[in-house]
């Protein structure tokens, strides 16, 4: 067999096969089991142990690329939080075009189903520049930091929820951050969570998984939802399978295919190297 061929496969065939592998389970779900990791359980527990009526500050710091990974986390969080009658205050610091509208869509759709009102049970404060300075100001004065308006430029004093939530220091019970980099956990931890001794949890793109281990290990980050997989686990825990769960079969099959290609590529490499050394 000509093993060299394995190293010269047209990359477009690989792209096509990946797409097929991801598409098949979407039409014919395989129902592969999803086990709940300890980190996901810790996130669920962080929300679960909040007393009813607590306020959760959500920072949805995502761009267009990573939104599919992080958006399902918001739906699951909203379901768990609203079931406990907790209130949600949303901000965004990464991308002004993605964070606020995605927060509005995903938290809003759950709120609508559960009969929660905008401005009473949840609010979207929108995007602000200069994340770290805004975070610091929010510790003492959320109204001032957000320039007194929500994401649609409506005055914050018109919303009952904002009459209760004046500062992170006195009125926020949990910080939930979904992030793809900077600003992210490092900033929230440094400028808000650690100085104010507030619990910090959330989820992030899986690209960040390795780099966050020290925060989880030290307990500075209470659990972690890792990408779509973490979102799927969280959806299972809150009993609301959604976009996260529906993508897991496809992801598992995609991984199997990539592993198969890695093995084939290595077999090809070693076999052709052996052939050359013999010749």
């Amino acid at each position: 067999m000509d093993w060299d061929k394995l190293q010269r496969i047209d990359v477009r065939w690989i792209y096509a096969l990946v797409i097929v592998c991801l598409l098949v389970p979407m039409f014919w779900p395989l129902g592969l089991p999803i086990t709940i990791s300890e980190n996901t359980r810790k996130v669920w527990e962080a929300v679960d142990k909040l007393p009813p009526g607590s306020v959760i500050l959500v920072s949805h710091d995502t761009g267009p690329g990573n939104a599919p990974e992080l958006n399902p986390m918001l739906s699951a969080l909203a379901k768990q939080a609203f079931e406990k009658n907790c209130k949600i205050v949303g901000v965004a610091f990464f991308d002004q075009l993605v964070g606020p509208p995605m927060f509005q869509e995903y938290v809003g759709s759950v709120a609508e189903k559960m009969g929660k009102k905008y401005g009473v049970d949840w609010i979207n404060l929108g995007f602000r520049l200069n994340a770290t300075a805004t975070m610091r100001q929010m510790c003492d004065d959320i109204h001032g930091a957000m320039l007194g308006v929500d994401w649609e430029n409506k005055s914050l004093s018109d919303f009952p929820i904002m009459n209760e939530v004046k500062s992170i220091k006195d009125d926020v019970d949990l910080i939930f951050v979904t992030t793809v980099g900077t600003p992210g956990y490092g900033d929230w931890m440094t400028y808000v969570a650690e100085p104010l001794k507030k619990p910090l949890t959330g989820g992030a793109s899986l690209t960040m998984y390795s780099g966050l281990q020290q925060y989880i290990r030290s307990g500075q980050l209470q659990g972690f939802l890792g990408g779509l997989r973490g979102a799927a686990e969280y959806e299972q825990l809150v009993g609301a399978p959604g976009k996260g769960c529906s993508g897991m079969d496809a992801q598992s099959l995609g991984h199997m295919m990539i592993i198969a290609f890695l093995i084939l590529g290595n077999i090809g490499y070693f076999a052709s190297a052996r052939k050359k050394s013999r010749a």
């Binding site: 690209t207 030290s218 997989r229 995609g254």
Partner: protein, 206 residues
Amino acid sequence: MTAEQWGAIAGSICIIMAWSYLFKESDIYYFAEHLFVGLTVARGLTYTFENQLKPLVLKDMAEKGQWTLVIPVVIGLLIYCWFFKGLRWVARITMGFWIGYGAGYSLGFSPPVYLKQVFDTFTPFIKDGRFNFGGVLYFLVVITALMYFLFTVKKESGVLKYGSMFGRYALMVAFGSAYGSITMAYLSLVIGKLQVIFKDALHLVK
């Protein structure tokens, strides 16, 4: 059809146009690229004006009378002096201000956060009457990875040689783990886009 469905259809067309790059570079791809850049810039400008500048000028300055905010605005605007050859030095004032503020601000808050992680490195080797393998491994990896980055001493023999070698392998394992995570993340992104096409736009998937 609702606006949401139109949005999903337009999004799907854009996704396919962008993905055409995987097959071959083409005008379709470049059209999608320029469309994306144009839309992003336009919306970004509008959003910044409406949600940042307007409240700053109308509320904070005009309503509340906080006219001192003009000072940082002027310092910020000095950056545009970069475009005038003789005045480039003025733009450096903005940069200097920004870098100085950033460094001072960050150093003021960072140490306690990192110290907690440093303390956490030293966990007991025996925990609950059992050998704490994870803790020992963590400690060894931290120490040996630091050894690998010691460039001012020769590491030709002894503890430093083998320690830095172990550190290098540990770093390679960490990079492998990061690479695996990135692969998984990218697949998630493709799945997300496929869901937009087949679920939100075409309604072929439940």
